[in-house]
Structure formats: structure tokens, C-alpha cells
Amino acid sequence: MSLKTFSRGGVHPPEHKLSAGSKIIELPPPEVAVIPVSQHLGAPAKVLVNRGDQVKVGQLIAESSGFVSTNIHSSVSGKVLKVDQFMDSSGYRKMAVQIQVEGDQWIETIDRSDDLVRNSVLPAEDIRKKILEAGIVGLGGATFPSHVKLMVPQGKTAECLIINGVECEPYLTADHALMMERTEELFSGIQLLMKGLGVEKAIVGIENNKPDAIERMKDITKGSNVSVQGLKVKYPQGGEKQLVKAILKREVPSGGLPIDVGVVVFNVGTAHAVYEAVMKNRPLIDRVVTVTGKGLEKPSNFLVRVGTPVSSLIEKTGGLPEQTAKVINGGPMMGKALSTLDVPVVKGSSGILLVDENEARRKEVKPCIRCTKCVTVCPMGLEPYLLMTLSEKSLFERMEPEKVMDCIECGSCSYTCPCSRPLLDYIRLGKAEVGKIMRARKAV
């Protein structure tokens, strides 16, 4: 099997896939769930329930408030305690629905059986409608509403669907577990997405550190128009632009989307959620989350209800190890550090990573020695050292022509810097400032 990869930049951090091979363990609902109404990219959903209301699992509790927005369903059954601001993983307080869990009552329309439903006779339009209603967002972490991606803009055509099973972040194994255990469902979800999108071809990209998943997916897709492409292990191959480049050798234009080169990319988790939504009428109310870290006794993959507090998730792995100094929502390269465990699991939570004291701190920053490593590893062909200098000196207007807005914030530059310079921190600052400049220009 020939392995492909993207051509420019990239790093290879130690993989540490501690929870690889562990079976997905389904967790019972928490005692109290906090379900944010903004778990996606775009406008927050509009809350439909009030304090004291009784809700069931799968019930719509907040509805999409625009095209780029999405529905939120209750993941538990019980009584609404509060509709208020709660801290989420970003560290900000945001609107959420707090529910006191009572029993586990589901709305009747959901098919909770394990039976595999295969052949869909639904027309493309209905598939798209179901995905919209189920509140599905990109589960790889970007949480972009999926129905938006399925609406191909006028003048553009989708030729190929790419399914992202790369999971290039170290430590995370949620997608891997899903590919191993829910292969049939996943395959069905892929076929539904192809139909919804109107494409004849789909390719599943999987990195070579998961040979079992590659084999399993190959077996199941044999004879169909879904193919599996093994990829050389390289971070950030899970980035859409890098993945499209790796598989099809097409470059998404600067400021563009994969659809500009005829491609739409979905994560394996998303494809699985699409199956659940379309074939089982099950809205997106839970997801697979990897809970991992070197100090943990048993790093595992859990199927968790959205709204479950991170603290109760960690309890399930035997409690927080004493030496834990940092808790990361996501992987070590792009995840967000949490200030408290009192935040809920949301649609975009792919993992909880516990880091102990000696790895939690950054190293002392030294002056740049112009070793060129950041330029070499940048997958977007940028010059991080230059962008950082410009940002430090507040020369933001010079950052735009240097293509700062192309930065995908993968962190390869900061990762690789031998002088431990906070390159990405300054680039993020620059992106925010350049964004302001661009919006001001548009407003004129």
C-alpha cells in the first residue's frame, strides 16, 4: 500500500496513543447536565425551555438561530433547573441549560436498538433536512454546522467526499475506536453523506499508525465507491487543507474552502452521527471522548452524553491523579487548557488530556537564533518568526500581506522552536488584529 501525505511542513510529535485499543465504554447520564446553547461555530441557538420544564432525551431545547447555527437537544431527561450563563471550556460564561437528571426517558421517535439499518430510500433533500434537525456539527473539533457544508454554493460542484479518520493529534483515540467498533454504521453514514452531497466518490483518510482501522475500513468498503487511503503519520494531516492536499494533491486556495477544489471533508465522528440521525432519528446528544494522560491508571474511550461535567468523566477513570497540573480539552497540539473541571463535555470535545507538573509548563523563552525550523514546519508556507516579530512590534498592517490569515493555528511552529518562543500566541494576536483591520475596511 502506498502511503500519501501533504507536501509542505509538518511535525511528528510523540504519539502517546495510550488508550488505543480500549473499547468504547458507555457512561450513564450525569446527575446534573449543563448543555450550552453555543457548542458550534456560528450564532448561538435560541433557548426553547424554561426553568421547571420537564425534558426528555432527544428533545429540542434550543433551536438554530440562523443558517450558520444549529439545533441543541437535551441529552438527558429531567427537570430544567436553570437557564443561565455557565462557564464552558473556553473559560467564558455562556448561555446554557442546566438539567437535574431524573431517570433516562427518551422521546419515542428515536430508535434505540442496536440493529443496523442499511439501505436508505430517503432522497438527498430529506437526508440534509435530517442532518440539520439533528444538530450535527463537525466532531473533529471545529464544530462547523454540517448542514452548511452539505449546501454546495452556486457555481461550485462537489466531486469527492473525504472522510477524516486521520486523528493526527497525539493521545486521542476516539476516532480510532469509532472506526474499529462502529465500522458498519460509519460506512452507512458515509454513504448517506455521499447521497446528501450528490457525489459518486468518497475517500477515507487514515494515518498509518492505525493499521487495524485501515484494514477494517477496507474490508467493509470493498466493492463500493468508498475507498480507504493510508497516510504517512504527520501532524497536522487532520487539517482539512492538508488532508485534501495529501489525498488528492489539490490545494485549497488561500482564504478558500475545500469546496473550491470540489471537495467536502467530514470527520469520521460526524459521519457516524449522520448515520444515527438519519437512520435512527437520533439527534447529536453524545459522543466518544478519550480520557487520557500518563498519570491515569486506565486511559479510555467513553461514550459520553453532552453536558456531562468533565469532573465526573475523570472520576470514571479512577479520579484525578494528584500530580495533574494541566487539563486539556482536546489534544496537546490544539486543545484548550481548562481552568476548572466544572465545565461540560460538548459536541466538539474529542478528548480530555491530563498533564502532570513537569510537562505542563512552558520552557524559558530564548532569543530567536533564526534556525528556520518554524518556516520549515509551517504547513501553510508562512514565516512564523517574522509574523511573531511583526506582532510583537504591533506592525499588524504588515502581517496581512505576509498571509497571517492563512494560519491554521496548528502549533507546529511553537512546538518545534528550540528557543521555546511563543510564536503561535503572537500570531493569534496578529490574526485578531488583522481581522479587525479587514472588517473595518469592509465596513467603509
Binding site: V11, P13, P14, G91, K241, K245, E251, V252, P253, S254, G255, G256, D260, T324, A325, K326, V327, I328, G330, P332, M333, M334, G335, K336, A337, S339, T340, L353, V355, E359, A360, R361, R362, K363, K366, P367, C368, I369, R370, C371, T372, K373, V375, T376, P379, M380, G381, Y385, L386, D406, E409, G411, Y415, C417, P418, C419, S420, L424, D425, R428
Partner: protein
């Protein structure tokens, strides 16, 4: 209630560091150092020890008492500068001249610009050129290899490039070549020249080690060597009596040392691979121009310093290939 550390991503880092990179380069220099000690004995031991010690000392003193910053004299970069300075001096040069060279290298070459990372010119070459201009006699008396126990009293002679330059005034290349050490001797380093530049083989070994460790990429050294080979090859084919062959140019003088160690200095070389190639071609051409048509027998030191000066300009205009072509909005 636990208190957690919160910082923006990424949360993982390589274990690479400045000292690790610098000591990697120093390790790669060990074969050349061993060859040099083998041929120049006690002279090389004295010159390199004095050079390294002075560079570290001057860096410490300047940072501590003049710049009033936390000294970084042990990060490996001063050690490396000292070693490289020793490599491009004759092994019989009096130790006090070495100390002046070290002061020029660290003081003028590095610290006046603000220390590591800010200098425009390669510090070791600044030191060498400073001495070359200030002490032209001491800097052009080359000890013959194999005089183990002789330091300043070693018997001296001319370098192969010197022989060639002088000889071509009234003789042809063919007539001069018998006086030049054989290619085998040039390869292992049994030749006259700066203490660390003589063994092409040891230096190439160091280059492969650095490439293997990913400390340097192939772009700068191979472009310089290829440019010199092609340029001198054309001249040689045009008139083999007037111009020496490419192999002679590749194996003699400071070309290997310059191409592999001086031109690849992180701080003073371009940031992109395209920029590195432009820089390498430039250094190659200027080196040959000085060697063949200039007044000095060797030109690699000046070529590198000139293109160090061009580096900021190259960085400004030569950009890496960006991912994705621009789309027109609207």
C-alpha cells in the same frame, strides 16, 4: 480544589534546544578537530583552547559587565564560535593574537549587535578577517603538517591556493600541480592551511552528521560546492593552462569549512530554502571570482561575509511557497 495551569496551545514541545543544537554542531566538528591535532599537534591544542576559552570569557564579561544581562556564555554558541575561529587560523599563531581575534569575534561580531540571534555577520569570520587585516604576516605563515611538538617555531610554507596564485604569474597550471599535495593528501588533510580547514573528508563527515541530525539542510553547503565546481569547471574547460580544475578548488583552502560551517550559521543565513540557494550560489560565484581574478588566493571568507550582508535583503524578498493560490474575492 485543584489549581490548573492554563496556557494557549500547543501544550507539547520538542526537546530540541539551543545548547543541544550547538553541541550537535560541536560533535560534528570532532573528526576535523582530531585530524587537525594529528597534523598540527601542540599548536592546534593551544590555539583551539585559547580561542574557545577567550570567546567564552569575553562573552561572559561583556554580558555581565557591559550589557548587564544574564550571561549565556555556556549555551554552546560561544564555544562554537571559539572552535570555528581556531579552525580558520594557522596553528602556529601566537596565543595573544588568538585572544584579540576572539575579542573581535565575540565583541564586534556578536555582542555589538545585541548577542546571539541579532548579529548580521558570522562572528568567527569577523574575528578571522580582523586578524587577517591586522596581522597579515602571522596570518599567512602556514605550518607544515606533522610537526607535533612545534608551536610558533614550526616550519612554514604556502597553501596550495597560495602556490597556485603565485605560480600562475609566470607558469601554467600543469607546471604548478606537482608542487601541490596530492588529492589524497588534500582529502585527508596533509596539507598547509588554516588548522581546521585542511581535511575535506573530516569536514564532509561532519556535514553528513549535521544533516542526519537535521541541524542543517543540504541547501547551503551543497549549493556553494556545486556552484564552485561548475564555475571553475567552465573556466578549466575553457583554458586548463590558466585555470585549475574543479576538484582542486573544492579540496583546497577554506571552501569546505566555509560552505559547511560558516555559511550555514543559523543567524546569518537566509530563512527559506529558496533564499538559501540564492545565497549559496552567490557565495560560490564570489569565492571563485576572488580566487581566480582577485588579489587574494582565497576568497571564501569575504564571499560569506558579503552574502551575510545580503541575508536580510534575501529574507525580505524571497518568501516560502505559500499554501494555496490566492483567490479573487468579490
Amino acid at each position: 480544589m485543584n489549581k490548573f495551569i492554563v496556557s494557549p496551545s500547543p501544550h507539547a514541545y520538542t526537546d530540541e534546544s539551543v545548547p543541544k543544537l550547538m553541541y550537535g554542531v560541536i560533535i560534528s566538528l570532532l573528526p576535523a578537530l582530531a585530524v587537525s591535532v594529528y597534523f598540527f599537534g601542540i599548536g592546534m591544542i593551544i590555539v583551539s583552547s585559547v580561542s574557545v576559552a577567550s570567546c567564552i570569557l569575553f562573552e561572559y564579561l561583556i554580558q555581565r559587565y557591559m550589557m548587564k544581562v544574564k550571561p549565556t556564555h555556556l549555551d554552546g554558541s560561544a564555544l562554537l564560535t571559539g572552535l570555528l575561529l581556531a579552525f580558520c587560523l594557522p596553528a602556529n599563531i601566537p596565543f595573544w593574537i588568538v585572544m584579540i581575534g576572539a575579542l573581535a569575534a565575540v565583541g564586534i561580531g556578536k555582542m555589538t549587535f545585541g548577542g546571539l540571534g541579532n548579529n548580521i555577520f558570522n562572528p568567527a569570520l569577523v574575528g578571522r578577517v580582523f586578524l587577517f587585516i591586522s596581522f597579515p604576516v602571522a596570518m599567512t605563515a602556514w605550518p607544515e603538517p606533522g610537526q607535533w611538538m612545534h608551536y610558533t617555531d614550526a616550519v612554514t610554507g604556502a597553501t596550495p591556493l597560495g602556490l597556485m596564485k603565485e605560480g600562475l604569474a609566470n607558469r601554467t597550471v600543469g607546471e604548478i600541480m606537482p608542487e601541490v599535495p596530492s588529492f589524497l593528501h588534500l582529502l585527508v588533510g596533509k596539507s598547509m592551511g588554516s588548522a581546521g580547514e585542511v581535511s575535506a573528508l573530516a569536514l564532509l563527515l561532519g556535514m553528513f552528521y549535521m544533516m542526519y541530525r537535521k541541524i542543517i539542510s543540504w541547501h547551503i553547503p551543497l549549493t556553494i560546492l556545486a556552484t564552485v565546481a561548475i564555475f571553475t569547471g567552465i573556466l578549466w574547460l575553457a583554458n586548463p593552462d590558466r585555470f585549475a580544475d574543479p576538484l582542486f578548488h573544492l579540496l583546497t583552502g577554506g571552501l569546505m569549512l566555509g560552505a559547511i560551517y560558516m555559511a550555514t550559521d543559523y543567524v546569518t543565513s537566509p530563512m527559506t530554502s529558496k533564499g538559501m540557494i540564492i545565497y549559496g550560489v552567490g557565495i560560490g560565484i564570489v569565492t571563485v571570482l576572488i580566487r581566480v581574478f582577485g588579489a587574494y588566493p582565497e576568497g571564501v571568507q569575504f564571499a560569506i561575509l558579503i552574502f551575510n550582508g545580503f541575508t536580510p535583503l534575501i529574507n525580505k524578498f524571497v518568501k516560502p511557497k505559500r499554501f494555496g493560490k490566492e483567490v479573487k474575492h468579490g
